[in-house]
Symmetry: C2
Subunit: 152 residues, 2 copies
DNA sequence: TATTGTTATACTCTATAACTATA
DNA sequence: TATAGTTATAGAGTATAACAATA
């Protein structure tokens, strides 16, 4: 019989677009919940996140990453410093500049709890073959389609 | 020979989490760009979006969907009405209430251009077999894992 | 001179509370 | 009384411009 069913790139693009829309919606909802309950704005959270993954970061770097003006970064870092979530440390190599670091308390807010049970639940209905297909497909997307993406 | 390589749910959850992170990052970046260039805030855009898909919508509905107070909706809708992106129409069934509709100009801003060329480019390296596997996997996720999600 | 970052100020967005009009 | 929405006001977040300290 063979496979008369033809999948073309147009179909894949359509399916991908719709999938990203749905997957993102779920993820964004969980993040929003996390931020509301911790009384963090999105940009405050992003600063914690970037500082965490960069293991220390200057104002200028934050301004570039977040597409905000330096003055806004000063305001936001002030607000985080008051809550003892970050500290400014002098940069010995350039005395104009400070490096922003996470405190222990800041570190605790960076991780959005994944709700592991819910994640597991998502894949509950899948059999072993389906799990394997999915896993291969996801690895394929990451290696051949998403390319150099690496955002924290 | 068989397939000795075992994929378990833990691996699938891990791969899925990472994939969503990367896919969302790309999508969010494009949306942010769209909004910046159109001088729309995220909530202004969300209002256009909801009003579009609901084909007209009351303030209360918007407040619920966006988790904002009624006064904030008034402010945002005012700002959109001044730019002639939406109109308030009296609701004949309840004279306290207005229905918010998109104008032609508003409609133009709702669609975030998908950058079709870039999307196509993403799947450029895939052969026919890979395209088919991907397509099936994406349909599988939507039908068996994401469930009832339907967000606009 | 150029760069890093802060301060002063104004504008946008959001919440709270008091209010109007209608149900 | 309750509900849909607005107005007035205060506080958070962001941008612009002027500035200080350092490169």
């Amino acid at each position: 019989m063979g496979n008369e069913f033809r999948v073309d790139r147009e179909m894949v693009v359509g399916a991908y677009t719709e999938l990203v829309r749905q997957m993102s919606a779920k993820r964004i909802r969980r993040l929003a919940e996390h931020l509301r309950s911790r009384e963090l704005s999105l940009n405050q959270y992003s600063i914690l996140n970037i500082v965490h993954y960069e293991e220390g970061c200057s104002s200028i770097q934050l301004a570039n990453r977040l597409q905000l003006k330096a003055a806004s970064i000063t305001y936001l870092v002030d607000s985080l410093e008051k809550r003892k979530l970050v500290t400014r440390v002098e940069n010995p190599e350039d005395r104009r500049s400070h490096t922003i670091h996470l405190t222990e308390e800041g570190l605790e807010l960076v991780c959005v709890p994944e709700n592991h049970a819910e994640m597991f639940g998502m894949f509950e209905q899948l059999g072993q073959d389906e799990l394997e297909m999915l896993y291969l497909a996801m690895r394929l997307i990451r290696s051949k389609c998403l390319g150099e993406e690496q955002e924290h």
